[in-house]
Amino acid sequence: MDQIYIPKNRTGFPIGNYVIVTPVMSSLNSKKIEKLYFYGLKSLEPIKLTVIKEIFNIIDKKMENYGNIIVTGSFLEKGFGFNDIDILIISEEKANIEIVKEYIVNQIGIKPHIILIDNKSLIEGLSTDPLYLSMLSRCISKKRLIYNVKTKINYKLLDLQLLKSKIVIDNFDILSGNEKYYYLQNIIAIKLFLESKKVSKDSINKIIENLFKMSKDKIKQNLIDKKEFIEKYKQIYNKTFKHIMEHIGHESK
């Protein structure tokens, strides 16, 4: 029997669908197949791929000059628990993002969170900000991503970023599971960055699971033992803070 290989990530083509097999050339002539670039993703629901392609089409129509479009964040997580779609548009020119946002909401019905950033700022972000690294460790882009970035540790900047996560200590009861996970992820990303280790969604989640003995899903669902969680959270926050302060102190001498 002859075999046909099809990509694992495919649009509108779930298992069990009937298909027509046609010669490659006639398909290519009738419609150009658009290739997307996947980073750190094993699979994605076909409906989400359709949404991403539609978003890329909208941006393509609404913006004249852009370098690349990157979709990242919770939209790429398994399931449909996302709040919005995080979109990074790499462009050297300024553009009215509000129009693009409005169009996406009207056409697709999902709220986008768009960041317009130029290439230099993105590279700067990737070299100094662990959240940028984590963000691009799992993403889908319109064009291939080629970034050879050397990390630069700026302790004052990391101190500012770490400060964001202090909020959980004072506001445990009122923050949602997703927010707690976000702030915890922030600390772990900083910790990995300081240790010159790979900062990615997977490496962050592994550390969270090891330290807190619970999956990220449990944290996101807010199924947390407060006392145990806060104790570990404070420990890791204080340790990271101390690490940063030691270096700021040395730098200032």
Binding site: G125, D129, K156, L163, E179
Partner: protein, 114 residues
């Protein structure tokens, strides 16, 4: 102040203090180009503080003089402690003198003081 109001005020103080410390520390960073950020979080400390503020009566006018003094004192202490913990560890360029001015600015923005 009743218990619920006190709890809301404590939450407000924690978050507004965080936002103020953030602003003062931002000014201590001497390299302009590293200030670019990925401001993903919709809920920042200041947004949360505003959220609590709106739940505390009087929501649209400043607090009584007694409450104003009490809240300002608590915020000042929290901010100073956070900044001091950095200065003691050798963090330079923190303008601790600007604490009161920044606290006033934030308390005005949130309608705590006039």
């Amino acid at each position: 102040m009743n218990q619920n109001k006190n709890k809301l005020i404590d939450l407000f103080i924690g978050n507004i203090s965080n936002a103020i410390v953030h602003e003062i520390l931002e000014k201590a960073i001497d390299i302009e180009e590293i200030r670019i950020k990925y401001n993903k979080e919709i809920i920042t400390s200041f947004d949360i503080a505003k959220h609590y503020r709106n739940k505390i009566n009087p929501a649209y006018k400043p607090f009584s003089s007694k409450d104003q003094v009490e809240i300002k004192k608590k915020v000042m202490n929290k901010v100073r402690n956070e900044l001091q913990s950095r200065i003691l560890r050798g963090y330079k360029n923190i303008n601790i003198e600007s604490t009161e001015e920044t606290v006033d600015k934030f308390l005005r923005k949130t309608n705590i003081i006039e």
